[in-house]
């Protein structure tokens, strides 16, 4: 076993949080300080190891070829028709989400520093278990492992919400658990059907995702009455499971409840990473394995995404609880991702894939900051807060930064994804759908743009009420008589937020370096569905650039000498006098 092999490295990253959890259990009696320090050290080590792995991926030959990296596939049950292996690895799709999980786990621990004093041992153990599960979900390359880790993300969060949550934590925990469990059971049924269908054609039972994708490409699930609409049924089963996770309207009601009641650390992981598993599932399973069904459902999901954008924004507009407002903003923002994904246009899909990360950063930052406000003022009510900017200027600066990221201010990360999603959606509406559908598609794309205006409305309204003006808090709430200085960010809070802020700016300024690595993988995974959708929209395979262009009489091209060549010639002064025509 080569300790420096990428696959060992990958296992080590998933193992580290578990080791940390074990250490916390052993040191539990030593008191709060030891426990939270161990948790923080574990998270930092995991983050460093994960970042290192990401860098190794980026430098690898596999990345350049769009192949999975650090693949480890060990036989578990082989022989006869069984070819069951457990395999892990990273590819372009999982790369950033894997890194994001490691990053946000640190944030989740740092924001809990002062907030969690009761039962800290269990709390931090669960957070680290959650981290291992999140890392595992994105690293899994077979269905068994994926499903195991998928379920393992539910359990820690159920306890985190149910025990360390706020007043209605029981109801929130149960709603969350039932909703996602029901969804994931259906998804599992769908996945098992895929496995069995593949086995019936290839003669071996395998859970390996790559093999299954290849198998289903060769022997697609039937989409007709003869085959019992099997592909369609499997798609629906997976869709329910993933749609609940995302969440897509109308499966979203667990989300505001869970968020409002969850402790800050739980909210950070929930909004930042767990919501992404749904979209990840769509991209990993539905799009490559069930292209015809995806193409058939795409207009509906596109519409649900667009509707969710406006619906989530409208509901956010009237919330009085700041955390609830941000929870509904998540519904709205995930609507963009759904819309971009099911536009099935390259620009939109790559934008949606980036928007996953962007939303992870901005919503995690905002939830963390709401938690910090709650610790200081013991309220989340927008009406009773006010004038925070004078008391905690740096906290305000950070909140403004994540707000601007969330409402898609250019130069920050949120803009890039939003813009690409909408550009791709318009492209689909304009050129890529049947004549009867284009009006509806255009209208839906416009709804997406309306969401941009509404998003600024509710976020800036909240900022104005909470941070500007003068304080509306009764004197007794004024932070327990502490001096103004102590109300601003503390060191552990800076540790929680600063890394997110760095990425908010980094992605915003050079999105190309974040769009590049996943591009090939995402394109490969979405290609089948895009093509199926294009065929469905243009039956008979009429390409978009229609054939008649050869008949067009082209005017002679301008003489080569007068043609400017901007990219090769960096400086292009006074080129070619354009002849003033028609004087």
């Amino acid at each position: 076993m080569n300790l420096f092999a990428p696959s060992t490295h990958l296992l080590l990253v998933i193992l580290l949080p578990l080791a940390g959890a074990g250490i916390i259990w052993l040191l539990g009696s030593r008191g709060l300080q030891t426990v939270r320090q161990s948790a923080a050290i574990t998270a930092v080590l995991t983050l460093v190891a994960a970042a290192w792995l990401v860098l190794r991926y980026l430098a690898s030959a596999e990345a350049a070829a769009g192949q999975p990296f650090a693949v480890l596939s060990v036989p578990w049950l082989t022989g006869g028709i069984f070819d069951i292996r457990l395999s892990v690895g990273l590819d372009g799709l999982s790369l950033w989400l894997f890194g994001l999980s490691a990053l946000l786990s640190l944030t989740a621990i740092m924001v809990s520093w002062d907030a969690i004093k009761e039962g800290a041992v269990g709390f931090y153990m669960l957070l680290l278990l959650l981290e291992a599960a999140m890392l595992g979900v994105f690293a899994a390359r077979d269905i068994i492992l994926f499903y195991v880790f998928f379920e393992f993300t539910l359990v820690p969060l159920f306890f985190l919400i149910g025990i360390w949550g706020h007043d209605e934590r029981r109801r929130a925990a149960v709603t969350f658990f039932l909703y996602t469990l029901a969804g994931s059971v259906l998804a599992f049924l769908g996945l098992v059907t895929i496995v069995l269908w593949n086995a019936s054609h290839t003669g071996s039972i395998t859970f390996d995702i790559d093999l299954l994708t290849a198998g289903l490409t060769q022997h697609p699930l039937p989409m007709d009455a003869e085959g019992g609409y099997l592909q369609w049924l499997v798609f629906l089963a997976l869709m329910v499971g993933f749609a609940v996770k995302v969440p897509i309207f109308p499966f979203h009601t667990w989300l505001p409840l869970a968020h409002v009641e969850a402790p800050t650390g739980g909210s950070v992981d929930l909004a930042g990473v767990l919501l992404k598993i749904g979209i990840y599932g769509f991209l990993r399973f539905s799009l490559p394995m069930l292209p015809e069904a995806t193409a058939l459902a795409a207009p509906w999901l596109f519409a649900l995404g667009a509707f969710g954008i406006v619906y989530g924004a409208l509901v956010a507009l009237v919330q009085q609880d700041l955390k609830r407002l941000i929870a509904y903003s998540s519904v709205s923002h995930m609507g963009y991702v759904v819309m971009g994904l099911f536009a099935l246009e390259p620009v939109a899909i790559e934008g949606a894939n980036l928007q996953l990360i962007n939303h992870g950063l901005s919503s995690a930052g905002l939830f963390a900051l709401v938690g910090m406000l709650y610790e200081r003022f013991h309220t989340r009510s927008i009406a009773s807060l006010g004038g925070v900017a004078t008391k905690a200027p740096w906290l305000t600066v950070m909140f403004m930064l994540f707000t601007f990221s969330s409402i898609g201010l250019p130069g920050l990360n949120g803009f890039v994804g939003e813009f690409m999603i909408l550009a791709g959606s318009f492209q689909r509406a304009w050129t890529g759908v049947n004549v009867g559908l284009e009006q509806s598609y255009l209208l839906l794309a416009l709804m997406g743009v309306v969401g941009v205006v509404l998003g600024a409305w509710y976020m800036l309204w909240a900022v104005e009420r909470v941070f500007f003006g003068t304080s509306r808090l009764p004197p007794s709430h004024e932070a327990d008589g502490e001096s103004a200085e102590s109300l601003d960010l503390r060191w552990h809070e800076i540790t929680a937020l600063a890394p997110l802020a760095v990425f908010v700016l980094w992605i915003g300024l050079t999105p190309a370096s974040f769009l590049g690595p996943p591009a090939a993988t995402v394109r490969k995974l979405s290609l089948a569905s895009s093509e199926a959708f294009n065929n469905q929209m243009h039956p008979g395979g009429v390409p978009r650039a229609d054939q008649e262009h050869d008949l067009i009489t082209h005017a002679p091209p301008p003489p080569a000498a007068s043609v400017p060549q901007p990219d090769s010639v960096q400086e292009l002064a006074t080129v070619a006098p354009s002849t003033p025509a028609a004087r």
């Binding site: 250019p410 600024a456 500007f468």
Partner: protein
């Protein structure tokens, strides 16, 4: 140092200043202005060098050579093979891809590229020049403010963003900095965030601008879909073919390179919506008067001289796009002229000095729009000419108002002070110069630029009076053999017709309903509206002058014993600005320096624009009409306000019932509240109720069913979470170990 390096320096220096101020602001204390002032001053010096460089390479003369230099800094985003041009999209125009398939898939490729051309050089000079004077002035105005470093950081940040906006060579990058200047504006309006009015005004400004940005975003999407690129300049793809940029020389040289009809008009109207937001034109003008809650120097820089002119810049830059859509062009003029008149009317009854100036800004920007909409070279250059002179005299007026406010202890209501000319002679004298320029009195700057705008409108209304060059040129001449690939679409359809034979014939007849507005009768109406506005402008300007500076000395209590002329650091910028406010018009008009310089801007060398070039003639009759209107306005203001302070302004009594209508800003804000805000909020409440009572109930109903839930909940109370956590850890660990063991 190469021009491209210098071009990058212009935005870079203020950006560096902003960063230094943020990092070291507290330590610098009362010297926190140093980085910003030094950075902007250096940027202004560089901008001047660039102006000279650009002027030299354009050469001037009868046929100006287009000048543009493009510098690519880094690749912002790329998605390969994202766009396949359809036969009916303009991306497929001949010359698109020399020697290769015109329909090959294109990348979605956005580079951070800056350009230098006459228009950009002019804008950079205005931004950094006015920015520098405002920064110097702010040393005096903002001193002792607790947010002193924050103010200078934001001003430097704004100068950076605005420089990038006018130097960007890509529609997406324009959009980026379009919003970035909006964010700076938001932060500066809300600078005194403790004041609820300021916080509200900041939010309002951002949201109204977002509505405009909505137009820009969709406009950019349509540009991408129509032209297959968002670059202004031509780019070279890896396989050696030329991708023509939207405003690149390849497309500019092609008379049928631009889309007209429904799609073209839609693009132009969406860009107009964006411009209306940023430049505070009807119906999106409502944010600018409220923006006066911000510090006065910020109002002078952002809400008078520079940011609000971004809309003018955008339309001027997109001139070739507009030339293909006569209906959109005339709409620009109608919006501009209407705004000019409405804002001037409202401005006549305002008592807050800064709000008078705010409405005046809206009105003057309306003039510029009116001029742009004529779609002639004269109209485009006149708009930029007025933009330039307006930047000087309006910044001067705002800084003068700030000087008054400074010494009046923050009071800006003109009814509460008067006769200040003795108290603050420098402010009074420079304010008077600014007012003469604004009112359009010869030979001050505003006279010449306003005269050119009136001339451009007159030329459209009475073409025969302007000789052969004044012919109606709004429709692009199209060569028959290329018309077949002319990229227009039928009806409001989003897809071209497949039959290209029909396409060609349809093309010539193609017009949209708006095009009918492009008639002399409409232009004549617009001309008269503009002339009336000129009179109103002179009236409200001198009403403000008389109320503030003439009559017996009156000072509000808030001023205390400190009512005096402002310190040197504040009056010096006033004096400096008074020079161009006096002379810029005369010099630039008589030498034709600006118009011939600007004519070398690529956008203005498009055949459709260049064909409208007419020799500059000074129209004595128009100048006389403009001067008479101004004189009339000043006389009425004098009658109404001079020496009658104690009686109250009797002039306003003549207005009767119209006065409350105007004082309430024609109830436009109330209208928006009733028609937009309240309904949206009502729908939002309904949605929230629906969410809580219907969707949530459904879920809870389902949740009650399984009894096992009870067991689940009971476990929560067992207090043995650690054990569950440990079980989980062990379980996952087992999987990992299994994996590792089999390695």
């Amino acid at each position: 140092m190469s021009p491209s390096f210098l071009l990058v320096l212009v935005p870079l220096l203020p950006l560096a200043a902003a960063i230094v101020t943020v990092l070291a602001g507290r330590r610098l204390g009362s010297r926190a202005h140093l980085p910003a002032v030094a950075g902007i001053a250096a940027a202004a010096a560089v901008a001047f060098v660039l102006l000279v460089v650009t002027a030299r390479s354009s050469g001037g003369g009868e046929h100006p050579r287009p000048v543009d230099m493009v510098t690519t800094l880094w690749q912002w985003a790329t998605v390969s093979e994202a766009y396949e041009p359809t036969a009916d999209s303009a991306a497929a125009v001949p010359g698109t891809a020399v020697g290769t398939d015109a329909h090959a898939a294109r990348p979605f490729s956005i580079a951070v590229a800056l350009r230098l051309d006459p228009l950009t050089a002019t804008m950079l000079m205005i931004i950094t020049g006015v920015g520098l004077l405002v920064a110097i002035y702010s040393i005096g105005y903002m001193h002792d403010d607790p947010g002193y470093p924050r103010f200078f950081a934001l001003v430097a940040m704004f100068v950076f963003s605005m420089s990038m906006l006018v130097a960007a060579s890509n529609f997406l990058l324009v959009y980026v900095f379009w919003e970035a200047v909006g964010a700076c504006s938001y932060l500066l309006i809300g600078f005194w965030f403790q004041k609820p009015e300021a916080a509200r005004a900041a939010k309002k400004a951002f949201l109204v601008n977002r509505v405009g940005d909505f137009g820009l975003a969709i406009g950019v999407f349509l540009l991408w879909l129509t032209y297959g690129t968002l670059d202004f300049h031509d780019t070279l793809s890896p396989d050696g073919t030329i991708l023509p940029g939207i405003l690149g020389q390849t497309r500019l040289a092609d008379v049928s390179g631009y889309v007209g009809g429904a799609v073209g008009t839609a693009i132009c109207l969406l860009l107009l919506l964006a411009a209306c937001g940023k430049s505070a034109q009807l119906p999106l003008h409502v944010w600018l008067p409220d923006a006066m809650e911000g510090p006065t120097p910020a109002s002078a820089l952002i809400h008078a001289a520079t940011m609000v002119t971004a809309g003018i810049y955008l339309i001027a830059r997109s001139a070739p796009l507009y030339m293909a859509c006569p209906g959109a062009l005339v709409t620009v003029s109608i919006v501009g002229t209407t705004t000019a008149l409405v804002a001037a009317l409202i401005g006549t009854v305002q008592n807050d000095l800064k709000r008078v100036l705010a409405y005046s800004t809206i009105s003057q920007l309306g003039y510029m729009f009116a001029s742009l909409g004529t779609g002639t070279l004269l109209g485009f250059t006149a708009a930029i000419f007025h933009l330039l002179t307006h930047a000087f005299f309006k910044a001067l007026l705002f800084l003068g108002a700030g000087s008054v406010m400074h010494s009046m202890g923050g009071v800006i209501d003109m009814r509460r002070f008067g006769g200040l000319r003795k108290l603050m002679p420098i402010t009074a004298a420079t304010f008077l110069i600014g007012s003469l320029a604004l009112a359009g009195v010869a030979p001050f700057a505003g006279f010449f630029s306003k005269d050119e705008i009136l001339a451009s409108l007159h030329q459209k209304g009475w073409p025969s009076a302007h000789g052969e060059h004044g012919e109606h040129h709004a429709l692009v001449p199209r060569l028959p053999e290329t018309a077949a690939v002319g990229p227009t679409l039928h009806d409001v359809g989003y897809r071209g017709v497949a039959d290209h034979g029909e396409h060609a014939t349809a093309h010539a007849a193609e017009s949209v309903g708006l095009d009918a507005l492009d008639s002399p009768a409409v232009w004549q109406t617009l001309f008269w509206m503009a002339l009336v506005t000129a009179g109103l402008t002179a009236f409200y300007t001198f009403r403000a002058v008389f109320m503030t500076f003439t009559g017996p000395l009156r000072v509000p209590d808030e001023a205390g014993h400190h009512a005096h002329e402002s310190p040197r650091v504040m009056t010096l910028p006033l004096i400096i600005l008074a020079v161009p406010a006096t002379l810029a018009g005369l010099v630039l008009f008589t030498t034709e320096g600006l118009s011939s310089f600007l004519a070398a801007t690529p956008s203005f060398t498009a055949p459709a624009v260049a064909a409208t070039a007419a020799p500059a003639v000074f129209h004595w009759d128009l100048a006389l009409q403009g001067t008479l209107a101004a004189a009339l306005g000043i006389v009425i203001a004098a009658v109404g306000h001079l020496g009658r302070r104690s009686d109250g302004p009797q002039l306003e009594r003549w207005l009767g019932p119209v006065r409350p209508f105007l004082e309430n800003r024609m109830f436009i804000d109330q209208l928006y509240t009733a028609v937009v805000i309240k309904p949206v909020e009502a729908v939002a409440y309904l949605a929230a109720m629906f969410d809580r009572s219907i969707i949530d109930r459904l879920v809870l109903g389902v949740a009650r069913l399984p009894v096992s839930v009870g067991n689940l909940v009971r476990r929560l109370q067992s207090g043995l979470v650690q054990r569950y956590a440990l079980a989980g850890v062990v379980g996952v660990l087992a999987i990992i170990v299994l994996l590792a063991w089999r390695l």
